[in-house]
């Protein structure tokens, strides 16, 4: 259901203001969404003044600096810091992306950092992605092949292999799914761009023998056709992939098969 307003317990309040202690001349204000499950209070926006003279280039570096030097209580996910693991996906400056690959120089004005949109918040910038993982499991993202001969290579032509380009690179960071208004309103039923891109990755794999079953499973008014080509997913993808095109390809396969 379309629910424009946030529920009462999710209304964002004004939070604390952390003034710069270093006396630096090069200051930027960083507004960060905070919610502590132990207090029972509503979420708030804390503002930090950060000395940019001693800060590396990416938004994740900025967060690390705040956590190390200003406020150790702030919580966020991060791991590889090189855009490969997808842990630090968040909403920066109104757009989803990976904090470790987004330069803060690209953001004009104050830097606003929120968790990924329309998720149940676990703490601060950490959203609950368990629904998405369940949906991912539902498309059975593994190779289904009846050939039992393990001593032989399962050969794929160069052409067939190239069909997986632009699909296999997906790191499941959920930037696309949580940017999609359709997924906001129907996230429990609609699979969302990330999962549909993965579904297509297995549908189009020449080695997989269950293409028909996979197509049949995904051909559902709610699971697939809630995609209205809003293209927020493609705009958001930090790896430059095109989930909208993958979804259109599934629709096209269903229409022509």
């Amino acid at each position: 259901m379309v629910q424009i307003n946030l529920p009462q317990n999710s209304k964002v309040q004004k939070g604390k203001y952390y003034k710069d202690q270093t006396g630096s001349k090069n200051i930027r204000k960083v507004n960060i969404y905070r919610w502590d499950p132990s207090t029972g209070e509503n979420p708030r926006i804390d503002t930090y003044e950060v000395d940019m003279d001693n800060c590396p280039s990416k938004v994740l570096d900025l967060l690390n600096k705040i956590k190390n030097e200003i406020d150790p209580s702030i919580a966020y996910r991060r791991s590889c810091a090189h855009g490969v693991c997808g842990s630090c996906a968040m909403n920066m400056d109104g757009k989803n992306g990976l904090a470790c690959t987004k330069p803060h120089k690209e953001i004009k004005g104050d830097i606003n950092i929120y968790p990924l949109p329309h998720l149940k918040v676990q703490k601060d910038l950490i959203g609950d992605l368990s629904t998405l993982y369940k949906q991912y499991a539902s498309v059975e993202p593994w190779l289904k092949n009846s050939k039992k001969d393990e001593n032989k290579e399962n050969i794929q032509s160069i052409e067939d292999r190239s069909k997986l380009d632009g699909l296999y690179e997906c790191i499941m960071c959920a930037c696309c799914s949580t940017s999609c208004p359709s997924y906001w309103w129907n996230g429990d039923k609609y699979l969302g761009p990330a999962v549909l891109l993965q579904a297509y990755r297995w549908i189009i794999d020449s080695r997989d023998e269950e293409r028909k079953e996979r197509l049949k499973k995904v051909a559902d008014e709610l699971k697939l056709y809630r995609c209205h080509t809003i293209m927020n997913c493609t705009n958001a993808c930090p790896k430059g992939l095109n989930p909208a095109k993958a979804i259109a390809s599934i629709k096209k396969m269903l229409a022509t098969s």
């Binding site: 946030l6 969404y33 909403n91 329309h118 940017s179 705009n235 095109k245 259109a248």
Partner: protein, 128 residues
Amino acid sequence: MKNDNPLSPHIQIYSWHISSLVSICHRITGIINIIIITLICFWVSFLLLGNSNYELVYNFFGTFFAKFMIIGTVWSFSFQILSEIRHLFWDLGIGFELKTSNITGLLVIFGSFILTIFIFILGRNLFL
């Protein structure tokens, strides 16, 4: 188990892109068009009922509000048609690259206004 954790902000904070703007306008103009088509049907059946009704409709279309409504309708139909053409290409699997979709999105937005002006001029017989 019920999850009482807060919901992270979504439409309140997410920035608009050309494609999302065109998408929501496509929906809105679609709804407007359905209402307008119904009104046009009423208008036509009204005319069948005779002379006095024709006068009524004629006088109504003379008002500023009605003129605004007509131009709005022309824009709404123009937008819907151009956007629909864009969707037809998408259905063929063409035009999904970010750059292409941004260009076609802008074409739809500006094209709808140009088409509106064009139809207005055509209706006024200014070409002849």
